[in-house]
Amino acid sequence: MAQVHFSAGLRDLTGGLAQVEVEATTVRRLVVALEEMFPGIGEQLNEASSVAIDGEIFTDADYEPVSDSSEVHFLDIFQGG
């Protein structure tokens, strides 16, 4: 099961949970699974988050693979100059 970590800003939507384990093979499926656990979080994750999978940061990475041993962090989107 992938370890999914939420930034403090997302924990309003997770009932305060900082971390959950989710079975998923891609980011998109992971988000679908999270939406089932925490209704409303999907939109937030799709719109306002980047995702780091095992330390590598992606934007809009719906089909990026996630493995059983993956550590996944949802991060706030930031803008470069």
């Binding site: 330390g55 992606f58 100059g81």
Partner: protein, 750 residues
């Protein structure tokens, strides 16, 4: 010793040839935003609010429309109501910032625009537009905006990120929070604790080229825009949204861009120019004056930041507490999110809380500025860390080494760091002669470090092989700092042909696939990766053509030094030139496209060493020696890596010592020109010494990390720490101007 990995035998990558666009730029031929002239072109002028916060009661354009030479006058009512169309809130903000509807939210906010035959006629007509305002109370700083009963910019703004959601509207758009461990326990373990409060003013990107746009609209709704932009695809999307049309109706050509630093990732003039051109039936040029650039385009945030940190005797940071409020200007969207993620990211800290607020106020909407959000937070954190090192008697490099994030460290913003080069930048400073250079009277030395993510995002590239075996590399990433050179160098390396045989160009929105903005230090990394991918497709194609020509299997063909070689030497080599000349016989023109959403973004670190001399009589600070060490991963184009490092440092020195927005009590900017908003000039500065550290990014084909931004993160703290070293005064308010230094010296004497 600074880590410079062994050169893996590159022929072109890492060399210093002349840049592809250089000749046009030293001979005056290069066409920048304001240089285009079209037949029948009109000159436009924008009408701006003189008030910081006011309701627009009426706009009377009849007098202006009746004036000689005036061909069009537009106001907010000439644009669609995006809110009524259900647009995303961020699009509505862009539209309202482009031209105000019910309210103006800052001095300089656009209320109307005119187009006329001559500049003088346009200026006169702009003055003749009569706007009646009901002046509203305003707020200029985070303190004013967050005060109880503060006047509201947006009546419906409910703070996001707070649970439960507040019931009442405020000027706080959102709250961010990062936390780990137990703060009380952490401070309990500390042998020294320092708590300080810092303030910084808005500062402007200060590009020398004012915003400019030319639009030529057709009666069928299509339009062509030429503009000075960091991202013409983004410009197309924003402009189409504001105009209420499909992006495909707009063709955007990126002119040469005279600096951006983040400030040209957003739109100001483009939709206005299109609408004026539609109304007038002629091309329209809109160019900002410098004072419009200051009054109405994005500075970065003014801030208030509180930092409390504790260390043990051996220099380990045991706890950090950071509170930050960032001005967003008129609409939500300060870079406080990135500030929260970067503030303590250089260090491995077990216990922390980082809390931040995005606060709207009646100043121009902030825009990205080089590592947006990070420099102010670093000023605060790196100043406190310097003080802690002094308190426990530890060398400032050693305390940073003792806490430095390394591969595998859980970054303060979440994930574990991959291979990073922070420690190597610290060591590069330590190993440099500047670190032990002798200091004179009234001189001091300061060190500070900084982190920035760098961005990846989407890029496209097309590579064409010309009939004589030369190549054209086409991307859609506007080149601000020499990226055409890095594209050409990587293409030369991949194709195995000379750099001089490659022409790298930036194409318009109809000629190449989508590219995100030139920003986030992403172009050499991401657009470069697209170029590398396209070149590799070309090489595959060339091998296949050689295999056909020789009638052998593909695996019998190798591509070496720009030519196809038979693995067993059974055939004389076929050069790219040979293959290009015969391309018609082997399948037609040789061309390849690559598009990607970049992966493998490499984190960037910089450590900087600054020596200053402060005149205790006048309070004037002079930087006398400066060294910047930055991890570039792999310097594709060392000349322009150094250029980014030096440029970032000098912008930071300006931020540290002299740059600031000054507003009067009515919210009117008092220093909207380079005379009073003082950016560093040549005589203010020494040479900026560079140590390029190369710890290759394992996820990139050449090991590239973005280099454009992190250089501006450490300078304010480096300068402040040096001033403290010279005079034993801790400066906590930017800029550290002579008058403030004299005040601090006086306070010290009391």
């Amino acid at each position: 010793m600074a880590v410079v990995e062994e050169n893996p035998g590159y022929k072109w990558v890492g060399t210093r040839p002349i840049r592809p666009d250089g000749l046009e730029k030293v001979t005056g031929k290069a066409q920048f935003g304001a240089d285009l002239m079209l037949p029948g072109m009109l000159f436009g002028k924008v009408v701006r609010s003189p008030h910081a916060h006011a309701r627009i009661i009426s706009i009377d354009t009849t007098a202006a429309e009746a004036m000689v030479g005036v061909k069009a006058v537009i106001t907010g009512s000439d644009f669609p109501d995006l809110a009524a169309n259900g647009a995303h809130p961020s699009e509505i903000d862009v539209a309202n910032n482009t031209i105000a509807r019910e309210k103006v939210l800052y001095e300089g906010h656009v209320v109307a625009a005119v187009a006329a035959t001559t500049r003088d006629q346009a200026e006169a007509a702009a003055k003749a537009v009569e706007v009646t305002y009901e002046i509203l109370p305003h707020v200029l700083t985070v303190d004013e905006a967050m005060a109880d009963d503060a006047p509201l910019l947006h009546e419906g703004m409910i703070t996001k990120g707070v649970d439960p959601a507040p019931e009442e509207a405020s000027n706080v758009a959102s709250k961010i929070l990062h936390e780990r461990g137990d703060l009380d326990q952490g401070f309990g373990e500390a042998d020294a604790v320092v708590e300080r409060e810092f303030t910084t003013k808005p500062v402007h990107q200060g590009y020398i080229e004012p915003h400019a746009a030319v639009a030529d609209a057709n009666s069928d709704g299509r339009a062509h825009i030429w503009c000075s932009s960091q991202g013409h695809f983004q410009m197309r999307a924003y402009s189409a949204s504001v105009l209420g049309i499909s992006p495909g109706m707009l063709k955007v050509t990126a002119a040469e861009i005279g600096g951006g630093f983040g400030g040209k990732t957003v739109i100001y003039l483009e939709p206005l120019a299109v609408r004026l051109s539609q109304r007038a039936g002629r091309p329209v040029k809109l160019v900002m004056d410098r004072d419009e650039v200051f009054r109405a385009t994005g500075p970065t945030s003014g801030t208030r930041i509180k930092v409390k940190m504790g260390v043990s005797k051996d220099g380990k940071i045991t706890a950090a507490e950071v509170w930050m409020a960032y001005e967003a200007g008129a609409y939500a969207g300060s870079p406080v999110g990135a500030a929260g993620m970067t503030a303590i990211a250089c260090y491995d800290i077990p216990n922390f809380v980082v809390e931040g607020y995005d606060v709207v106020c009646n100043k121009p909407r902030v825009a990205a500025y080089r590592a947006p959000g990070a420099p102010m937070a670093a000023f605060a954190v790196e100043s406190v860390l310097d003080e802690l090192a002094r308190d426990i008697g530890m060398d400032p490099i050693e305390i940073r080494l003792a806490n430095a994030a390394v591969e595998g460290t859980q970054a303060s913003y979440g994930p574990k760091f991959p291979r990073i080069g922070f420690v190597e930048t610290l060591e590069a400073i330590k190993d440099h002669p500047n670190y032990t250079a002798e200091l004179g009277p009234n001189q001091g030395r300061g060190i500070a470090a900084g982190f920035w993510f760098n961005a990846g995002m989407m890029s496209s590239a097309t590579v064409h092989i010309n009939e004589n075996g030369t190549a054209t590399v086409v991307t859609g990433s506007p080149d601000i700092g020499g990226s055409r050179q890095s594209m050409a160098l990587m293409a030369a390396e991949e194709l195995g042909i000379p750099y001089e045989s490659i022409k790298a160009v930036v194409a318009d929105t109809e000629t190449v696939g989508f590219n995100d903005v030139t920003g986030g230090s992403r172009v050499t990394l991401a657009t470069g990766a697209a170029v590398v991918d396209a070149c590799r497709l070309i090489v595959e194609d060339l091998r296949a053509r050689a295999a056909k020509t020789w009638d052998v299997e593909l695996d019998q063909v190798e591509w070496v030094d720009g030519q196809a070689q038979h693995a067993e030497g059974a055939q004389p080599p076929l050069s790219l030139k040979d293959l290009a000349a015969k391309s018609g016989r082997t399948g037609g023109p040789i061309s390849a496209n690559a598009s990607l959403n970049s992966r493998g973004v490499g984190a960037g670190f910089s450590t900087q060493l600054c020596d200053v001399e402060v005149d205790p009589e006048t309070g004037v600070t002079r930087v006398v020696r400066y060294l910047t060490a930055q991890d570039a991963g792999r310097a594709i184009s060392p000349d322009y890596v150094e250029g980014q490092m030096q440029g970032g440092v000098v912008q930071g020195i300006g931020w540290a010592l002299s740059e600031e927005y000054i507003h009067d009590s009515d919210g009117v900017m008092e220093n909207p020109g380079f005379l009073d908003y003082r950016i560093p000039v040549a005589s203010d500065l020494p040479m900026i010494d560079c140590a390029i550290v190369e710890v290759p990014n394992p996820a990139h084909p050449y090991g590239v990390r973005g280099v454009g931004e992190v250089g501006i993160v450490p300078p304010m703290a480096a300068v402040g720490n040096a001033i403290n070293d010279a005079l034993d005064v801790r400066m906590t308010d930017l800029p550290m101007s002579p008058v403030k230094i004299l005040e601090a010296l006086n306070d010290q004497g009391d």
